[in-house]
Amino acid sequence: MLKLRELQLGFAAAVLDDEQNGFEQHIRAAGLSGARRLQIYRNNTLLSLTGALKAVYPVVCRLVGDGFFEYASAQYIARHPSRSGDLHEFGEFFATFLQAFAPAAEQVYLPDVARLEWTYHQVFHAAGHPPLDLVALAQVPAEQQGELHFQLHPAARLLESVFPILRIWQVNQDDYAGDPSVDLTAGGLKLLAFRRENLEIEFQTLEAGEFSLLCALTEDYSFAIACERALAAQPGFNLPACFSRHIVQGVLVAFHLQDA
């Protein structure tokens, strides 16, 4: 007779790893066989984890079709099993998985579309944050402004791709009714995913300077260094306008002076 620990390990192995591990000998066969009964749990687990992936990656699912998506999901579940009782945490490595998933190799943009969808999912559930204290910012002496470090809103994320993933995402939304064509040679883009005060999420395409500025601030570089990087990425870029836009729309929410 198995101890509870061994019984649970055997059950999980029979469901996740090896149908032939003989676990059904621990199940009463009454009418239906032990193997059949175990299969119900295998199906339930697969269905709920695949359902969780579909909920986060609806556009990837639409691009590859249900059958292919379910096949890819099964492989993903085997390689990256769920590590949380909260299903919203499942699927973090799907983009990386797709990158190495040979059957999907022809759809080269797929991993980046998955990255976009995971970003959306993170932004959806991210914490809120009150707006930046403008009065306090105005009080920082001019000579110290370059030493400021800014914090982005927890529901603001940056993303870039060499593919037109935003267009792909948009034409594959359920309520999209326009021209569905996508020009894959249209080039890449730099994106800001941001959840507004009204909790609606939007994607903003950014110019190189703007993207470099926000990336540098995210990486906790000082404002002076972030500005240098922005101007290096895009000479002549209108930095003051860009900076105040991200203050006003609430992307930048806090600042501090680095201790000397």
């Binding site: 198995l2 621990h26 175990l38 919203h88």
Partner: protein, 291 residues
């Protein structure tokens, strides 16, 4: 956003002895706009484990109008892995913010060796498992600082190892840990059909004072050449046999807050409200008898 106990004026209160419904995202706007005449609402705790955004915003606005129950599906309380402190901390944060009148988990496990199957998996009903569950429920109640309810699951298999009937295991667990019982009448019916025991005998074996909540839902029948099995799908109306069993349960346990659960192929809000009305009518009958 910092959790703010905006509801402390209302307090957790108690769940009224009427029917409530499971709150699902599909119905957020309809519930806020129409404020249907249901006694209370229940949500899956894990759906609100995020740090912010729409789910928590909706729950906060809806909570202002209804008593709330938090129902967990992912704690894996029966697992032999260490109790998941991070999961319990998230649950505790939610409890502080929303002040639910009831908090419940399942008599099941869902993870082992760090891998989650994200399902309500059956336990062997042995003395060893009972001892383990009592310790785990006590630990969870201590961390959360409150009593929890434990719900009987639907099951599709029985282990050779099991030595106790489920009802005895559940009643002993409640007796020894001080937890309450969330009696899922549909799950009793499903498991009774799947394993060939008497659903009424199950009800009779549960002590009257332990049941604080009842669940009702719909199931599906899967037919194979070697037999059939009932699957607890929560995608159907409550079936007539389960309504009959519910009537028996109300006879035995009295006017217990009753929840209509519907989790997949979720219909319009009005369908759930109508199911809750049916449950209310049965609760009223009991009231008339008692008077």
């Amino acid at each position: 956003m910092i959790a703010k106990p905006v509801l402390s004026v209302l307090g957790p209160g108690s769940i009224p002895d009427r029917a409530g419904i499971g709150l699902r995202a599909e119905h957020y706007d309809a519930v806020l706009e129409t404020q249907p005449p249901v006694g209370w609402l229940e949500v899956h705790s894990e759906n609100y484990f995020g740090a912010g955004g729409k789910p928590l915003d909706y729950l906060e606005r809806i909570r202002a109008h209804y008593p709330l129950s938090l129902h967990g599906v992912g704690l894996s309380i029966g697992s032999t892995d260490p109790l998941n402190r991070r999961h319990l901390a998230a649950l505790k944060t939610l409890i502080r913010r929303f002040e639910p009148a009831l908090v419940s988990e399942h008599l099941s496990w869902g993870s082992v060796g760090g891998r989650h199957l994200n399902d309500l998996l059956p336990l062997p009903y042995t003395e060893e498992a009972l001892y383990h569950l009592v310790a785990r429920v006590c630990q969870a109640q201590e961390i959360l600082g409150r009593q929890i309810l434990i719900e009987n699951p639907s099951s599709y298999l029985q282990y050779m190892e099991s030595a106790l009937p489920e009802w005895e295991f559940l009643a002993e667990l409640a007796q020894r840990s001080g937890c309450g019982i969330l009696l899922d009448v549909n799950n009793i019916y499903v498991s009774a059909r799947n394993h060939g025991f008497d659903a009424s005998a199950y009800l009779q074996a549960i002590p009257r004072s332990m049941v604080q909540e009842i669940h009702l839902a719909g199931f599906m029948v899967n037919r194979f050449d070697d037999g059939e099995i009932l699957i607890d799908t929560h995608n159907q109306p409550v079936c007539p046999a389960v309504w009959a069993l519910y009537r028996q349960a109300v006879q035995r346990f009295g006017r217990i807050p009753t929840l209509i659960e519907w989790d997949t192929d979720v219909p319009e809000l009005a369908v759930l409200v109508a199911e809750a009305e049916r449950a209310n009518a049965i609760l009223e009958e009991r009231h008339a008898q008692a008077a």
